[in-house]
């Protein structure tokens, strides 16, 4: 059963990756190109030779981008399917589609949105090569803290829901998650390596496009996986509903 869910998750993830690639190609690539143009310009002003291209821009912006996003989507889809297998039947009366949609929304907020509020995506030419180690460690630390806070809040919320009702339990768990993540953001050091002359507009558009790519990916994953999981787990729900009844 889990194996079949895993395959469905990776398929839904690959499809989500394809859509996210289309979005990234249309809305993200123009900003990447503007940022690389800035980088080349700064290099020329400093009298340095242009950086040799190990992989051409034509490959990076098409096959490379497609490979990266689809592999990422499939891997996220696989992990998503495993989380779904654990959550299914344990989230009140939520059925397959509802569980998948809720899990995708939570995954997006906890693993993408919250960490990126602290450490947003950066286009090429932002970020010192010497600090890549620290920046990578801090980014993954933020993701880990957000995930731990969410799991702790969920566990507390389940207990509170029994005493105070589901509505109050969920509200308190949400507030607790936000409070813990806010403290983590205050404690972790800030990173700001944006060059003084870098266009604020390009930076804003790039970060918006980056969040858009992740939004397309997680939304597609949650909705498509929900349908595939429903076919596997709840075949009886796919029978046509009796006349006049909406299922």
């Amino acid at each position: 059963m889990v194996r079949s869910l895993l395959v469905r998750g990776m398929l839904a993830g690959a499809l989500a990756g394809l859509l996210a690639f289309a979005f990234a190609w249309i809305f993200g690539e123009p900003q990447v190109n503007l940022a690389i143009g800035f980088e080349e310009h700064m290099r020329q002003m400093a009298g340095e030779a242009p950086e040799p291209e190990l992989v051409s821009r034509a490959v990076q912006s098409t096959v490379g981008l497609l490979t990266g996003v689809v592999v990422y989507g499939s891997a996220i889809g696989g992990i998503f399917a495993l989380a779904f297998a654990g959550a299914y039947g344990r989230l009140g009366r939520l059925a397959a589609r509802g569980t998948a949609a809720l899990l995708a929304a939570a995954g997006f907020v906890v693993l993408i949105l919250a960490p990126q509020i602290k450490y947003p995506a950066n286009p090429p030419s932002i970020g010192e090569p010497e600090t890549i180690g620290v920046r990578t460690a801090l980014y993954f630390t933020m993701i880990a803290l957000s995930l731990i806070a969410a799991l702790a809040a969920m566990s507390t919320g389940r207990q509170l829901a029994r005493r105070l009702g589901v509505w109050n339990g969920v509200l308190i768990a949400g507030a607790a998650y936000i409070a813990v993540v806010a403290v983590a953001m205050l404690i972790l050091p800030a990173i700001d390596e944006v060059p003084a002359d870098f266009s604020a507009t390009v930076l804003w558009h790039f970060r918006l496009a980056s969040l858009g790519v992740e939004t397309v990916l997680w939304t597609t994953l949650g909705l498509v996986f929900g349908v595939l999981a429903e076919r596997q787990l709840e075949p009886q729900r796919r029978r046509p509903a009796p006349r006049g009844v909406r299922v």
């Binding site: 889990v2 194996r3 190990l54 490979t67 990266g68 059925a95 090429p124």
Partner: protein, 69 residues
Amino acid sequence: MTIADKTRVQAPASIPLREIVPWAIFAGLICLLALYFVGAEQGATSIFPGMYIHEFVHDGRHLLGFPCH
């Protein structure tokens, strides 16, 4: 109340955790490894020498929000 309504109000049967754990370990690790190659290989740490993987997935790495360069 119809039959369809009755089936909706029950919680669906959950999958036993001992069935999930072996898959979570093996498939979970493979998926995390794939994420590592897209998101971080030849950046902060390298399994393979050179910069080819980094440069090939370069645009995806930036647009997916991973630290790069």
